[in-house]
Every structure is written in structure tokens, then in C-alpha cells.
Amino acid sequence: MAPGGGEENMKEEAKTLLDIYRTMVTVRLFETMAGEHFAAGKIPGFIHLSIGQEASSVGVCSCLRPDDYVASTHRGHGHMIAKGADLKRMTAELFGKATGYCKGKGGSMHVADFSIGILGCNGVVAGGLPLITGAGLSIKLRRTDQVAVVFFGDGASNRGPVHEAMNMAAIWTLPIIFVVENNQYASTTPQSYSCSVGDLCTRAAGYGMPGLAVDGNDVMAVREAALEAVDRARRGKGPTFIENKTYRVRGHFEGDPQKYREESEVLAWQKQNDPIERFEALLRKKKLLTKKASRSILEQVRAEIDAAVAFAEQSPYPAPEDALDDLFVNP
């Protein structure tokens, strides 16, 4: 994974892995917090949580630079955090506060931080795919070595824009990484029903693009695939398609009655395949993380999230008339 040899390298590698662990925990606790505050009526609208999918968001984004681009989805909190978003401004946005990333105009489905390359979460399923081709083309025209990542779901994978974007990325050898987070469901619809192939990565061949299926709950496997794809993209060798096989542990949205699946199915994934527990076990085995250290990380993260919630709660709502701002640069 990391270039071999040397104690320095080992140390750096350890630091990277612990950062990844910490970020996964942050995503988990952030989402848990969001779920609780939604249930408590503090977060308006509806929210989609990525609990159980932390290996995908964090694994991929751990390979990115701050100036790389990410186009996200309706289930985008994890992508945001993994790319380095500020928890306070995110929480404030979910709460609809003036101090939020979007001054309360966006909410959960539309958080974004353009300063760290997030081109927006997106309320339109597959909405990020057309945008990412533009980011990729822009990189090519500006001759930088940035890369552009788009996350989308198994459900999204059936929308037309995916096809157009993959073809475009391939013919122009754009530095794009297509990451489908196959979490088995699109809202109420199982992937096995909605998709004509089991492995979505088989579609990559139709674009002459490398495509691979990854155990999406194994953050190291995700990272390995992403590192290779990022390297390929940076070297101007074009796009890659990565299918992270994972599972949506929560309902589609908070409050989803979930009549479309058995609880036992969910429990099995939660118990046997939790990405954070799996990674923790690996770190334990590698002797990089003690129980105590992990408890301390947990506490630190919890404190950060508490601070974010406090910030959000103490922040003012935007003034109603602010609704008229921000539409045009030059009205």
C-alpha cells in the first residue's frame, strides 16, 4: 500500500491508518447524532444516513488531496467528513442555521464545501455524474494533476447520465473515479431487482474502463482500489470504475418503515460486517490500536460532535429576508 521499508514509513502508515479509523468513527458518530436530532425534531426535512458505509467514503477520500474534487449524493455526510468538512458548519446546516455551510439554504441533501473540493451533495439521484465530467474536463484543460471522484448508489447506476458520463470520461481519458456505493437498496428497491447485472462493475467493460468490485466494508480494500485509481487518474491514464459492495444499515431516510426487508438481514450485516469493527480488529491485530486508545478516540470525536451540536444549537436562524440573497452574483 504505502511505499515499503523504513521506520519513518511505518510510522507514517500507522498515522494514516489511525486517521482513517478516526474519520470513520467521526462519520459514524456524526450520523448517529444526526439521526437522534432528527428524531427529536431538531433537524427539519428528511435525512439519509450512511451508517455502515463508512469504509467507502473514508477509504476513497483518504486517497485524495484537498484540491481533488468530490461530487456527492443525497447520502453525503460521510463524503463531506471524509473529505475534511467542518463538523460545526455541517451540523449548523442540518439544523437550518445561518452559520451552516449554505446559510441554511441547503440542508442535509445540499451540504457542500467548495473550498475542499466538494462539488455538492445532490438531491437528484445521479445528479453528480454529469457535473463530474465537467470537473474532469476542467482539470484536463487547466493541465493540473487533480482528480475528480463521483459517488453514486446502486439505484443511481441505472440512470442514463451514468452512461453518458462514463462514455465521456473514457473517450477523453478524464481523471475521474466512478465510485458506486452498492448498498443493496435504492430506497425500497433491492439492487437485485433494479439492476440487470449483479456486479455493477461489469458495466465498466462497455466503456473500455477498468472496473472492479471491492468489499466495501473493508476500508483497506477500498483504499487499495482507490489508490490505484487515483494514481491512474493523476498519471493521465483515465477513469476507473469502483464498486464498493456495502450495506445500508439504516432506513433509506430516517423514519423509513422498511417493509421491504427483514430486520434479521440488517442485524446480520451490523453484527458480522460492521466496517468500523472490522477495521478496529485489524488495527488491534497490527498492534496499532489499543482498547484504551480507541476509547480515547471515541471520546475525542464525541466531544467534537458535541461541540458541533452546541455550535449549531447556539447559532441563529437566518433572517427570513436572507432567502432573497445568493441567487445571482449580478442580479
Binding site: P44, G45, G107, A126, P257, P320
Partner: protein
């Protein structure tokens, strides 16, 4: 005709049940329909009663719309559920370049008996991409009919007519009105013809012309206005295309004043069309300009205070009504 109190959702489900029983070519197509009987529970009972005739699709709005058109061309009467009206953007070619034009372009060879059911409207803190009211786009597209019911009985009577109609119908139902209740005729032949408005409150001082969620705002406003001795007539247009200009005109001949109200953003909304037509056809009847009430010209923002600020309220209607009454 015996009536019960039903929600708008239940009225829809009942109408669909009746029409699917009556005509076996009627079926429903869309995302996430069977597990929870539609994402708003709007098709309650249909999955059980008509297995195989309410069909879950992949997320493929372009093809869902086109699939409806293709089925309509080949002997079926599909109802396409568009999930959220906001995503009509993903099926505009199928709706506006195909469904709307096919009959005409091919010289009347074929009919397109398609209903496109779109839950629309704001107020759920669902932000810019899940809150729009886009009916004006389709009013400006020759070949489509546009229906927007408000009360549960209208939902029942109009969806039934839309299904039986041989032309493509865009049918918008406001998400925030699903739970609203009202009396609904039990009669399975209860049909409200397309193109027929309803005067739902009589009044002599000002005509409030509205549809969908705008109707409830207007009824609220009318009550408040009555307390100030302004008697507003509330005309629920119900279908925007065909438009019942006769009912509109006779109301205005009586009141000589009009306010047009809708939830869609003001500029280029249906209110413009109606105001333009009224002043054109009834210029000499007007004692005041026709005022329009609609949402502010911005995308729908998320935060409750912001969203409430941009949406039209009964207050805005009251203010407009008073203005045209020079009060």
C-alpha cells in the same frame, strides 16, 4: 350521491381502485410503488388488489416517462408516478417532445392516453430539488393537459377523468395536501370533467383565482376578508389546460377585480397567463389591475423560516385583495 370524509390520498387510491377495476388496461408505473404503496402511501391497497399492475421501476425517469408513452401507444392506459415533480426535468423530452407531440406530428394516427402523476409543492423543508411547482412549463407545451386538484373530491373526480381521457395529462397533486380530508362521493362514476372550474365560495367584491395549495390559502384569505366586509369569490380552476375561461369571466364580470394565486414562483408562472388573458378579454370589466400572488423568485430554501418567507400565504392574498379593492 353518498359521501364520506376521505383524505386526498385515500380519494386518489379509491379512484385508482375503481378505474383499474373498470378497465384492465390501466396500470401504474414508477419507483418504489409496491413496498409502501407509493412513497407517500398514496396507492394504499393497490399493490394487494392489483398485483402485477403496479410496477416498480429502476431509477430511470427518462425511460419511465417513455415507457408510459410507449405503452399508451400500444393499447394500454398507463399512469406514470413521477416520484417528485422536481424530477420531470429528467423526462422532459419524453413528456414534451414525445407525449405532447406524437398525436399531432403523426397527423392524428394515434392517441396517447397517458397520465403523469406528479406530487409537487413545498412546505416540507425538502429544499430546492424536492419542492417545486412546475406546471407552467407544461401549460406552455401544446399537446399536454394540466390538472391540479385541491380538495379530495376533486382528486377523485379529476384523476378518473384524466385516466379516461385519450390525451396525455399532467396531474399535479400537492404533497402537503395528501392528508387533508374532505367529503368524497362514493359513486364510482363520479367524474369531474377536465376544463371545468368550480366556484367554491361566492362573493361579489373580488375574484380569487387559484388551484392546488393556492385554493386553501384563498379560502383562508376569504374568511379573513369577510371579517373586513370584503366578500371574495374563490374560483378553484382545477384544470389549467383546458382552462375554464367562462367561469373565470363570469366571476370577474361580477366582481370586476381579480387576484391570481399559486405556489409556483411568480415570474412566468400560470398567474401570468391568466392575468394576461383576463385583461385581454375583459379589459373593460376591470376596476383594478389583476394582481398575482406566488412564491418569490428563488429556489425553495431549506431552513423553515426561509421557506416560509418565500411561499405565498393567506396574508399575501389578503393584502393583494385589499389593494385591488382600493382598501
Amino acid at each position: 350521491m353518498s359521501e364520506r370524509i376521505l383524505s386526498a390520498s385515500a380519494a386518489l387510491a379509491e379512484a385508482l381502485h375503481e378505474e383499474m377495476t373498470r378497465d384492465e388496461t390501466v396500470f401504474i408505473l414508477g419507483e418504489d410503488l409496491t413496498a409502501h404503496a407509493g412513497i407517500f402511501g398514496q396507492f394504499k391497497g393497490i399493490p394487494e388488489a392489483f398485483p402485477g399492475r403496479i410496477i416498480d421501476t429502476p431509477i430511470s425517469e427518462t425511460c419511465i416517462a417513455g415507457c408510459g408513452v410507449g405503452a399508451a401507444l400500444t393499447g394500454m392506459r398507463p399512469i406514470v408516478d413521477f416520484h417528485f415533480s422536481d424530477f420531470v426535468t429528467c423526462g422532459m423530452d419524453e413528456l414534451c417532445n414525445q407525449a405532447a407531440k406524437i398525436r399531432y406530428m403523426f397527423g392524428g394516427q394515434v392517441n396517447v392516453p397517458l397520465v403523469v402523476w406528479c406530487p409537487d409543492g413545498a412546505g416540507l423543508r425538502a429544499a430546492a430539488q424536492h419542492s417545486q411547482s412546475l406546471e407552467a412549463w407544461f401549460v406552455h407545451t401544446p399537446g399536454l393537459k394540466v390538472v391540479i386538484p385541491s380538495e379530495p373530491a376533486d382528486v377523485k373526480g379529476l384523476i378518473k377523468s384524466a385516466i379516461r381521457d385519450d390525451d396525455p395529462v399532467m396531474f399535479f397533486q400537492h404533497k402537503r395536501l395528501f392528508a387533508r380530508e374532505g367529503p368524497v362521493p362514493e359513486d364510482s362514476e363520479f367524474l369531474i370533467p377536465l376544463g371545468r372550474a368550480a366556484v367554491k365560495r361566492e362573493g361579489k367584491d373580488v375574484s380569487l383565482l387559484c388551484y392546488g395549495s393556492g385554493f386553501f390559502i384563498c379560502m383562508e384569505a376569504a374568511q379573513a376578508l369577510a371579517r373586513e366586509e370584503i366578500e371574495a369569490e374563490v374560483v378553484d380552476l382545477r384544470t389549467l389546460k383546458p382552462l375554464d375561461m367562462e367561469t373565470v369571466a363570469s366571476s370577474i364580470r361580477k366582481t370586476n377585480r381579480a387576484v391570481v394565486v399559486h405556489e409556483a414562483c411568480l415570474t412566468g408562472g400560470f398567474g401570468s397567463e391568466l392575468a394576461a388573458r383576463i385583461q385581454e378579454e375583459l379589459f373593460d370589466e376591470l376596476d383594478a389591475p389583476i394582481l398575482r400572488v406566488g412564491a418569490r423568485d428563488v429556489p425553495i430554501p431549506f431552513s423553515p423560516g426561509l421557506e416560509d418567507f418565500v411561499l405565498p400565504k393567506s396574508d399575501s392574498v389578503i393584502r393583494a385583495a385589499k389593494r385591488v379593492c382600493y382598501r
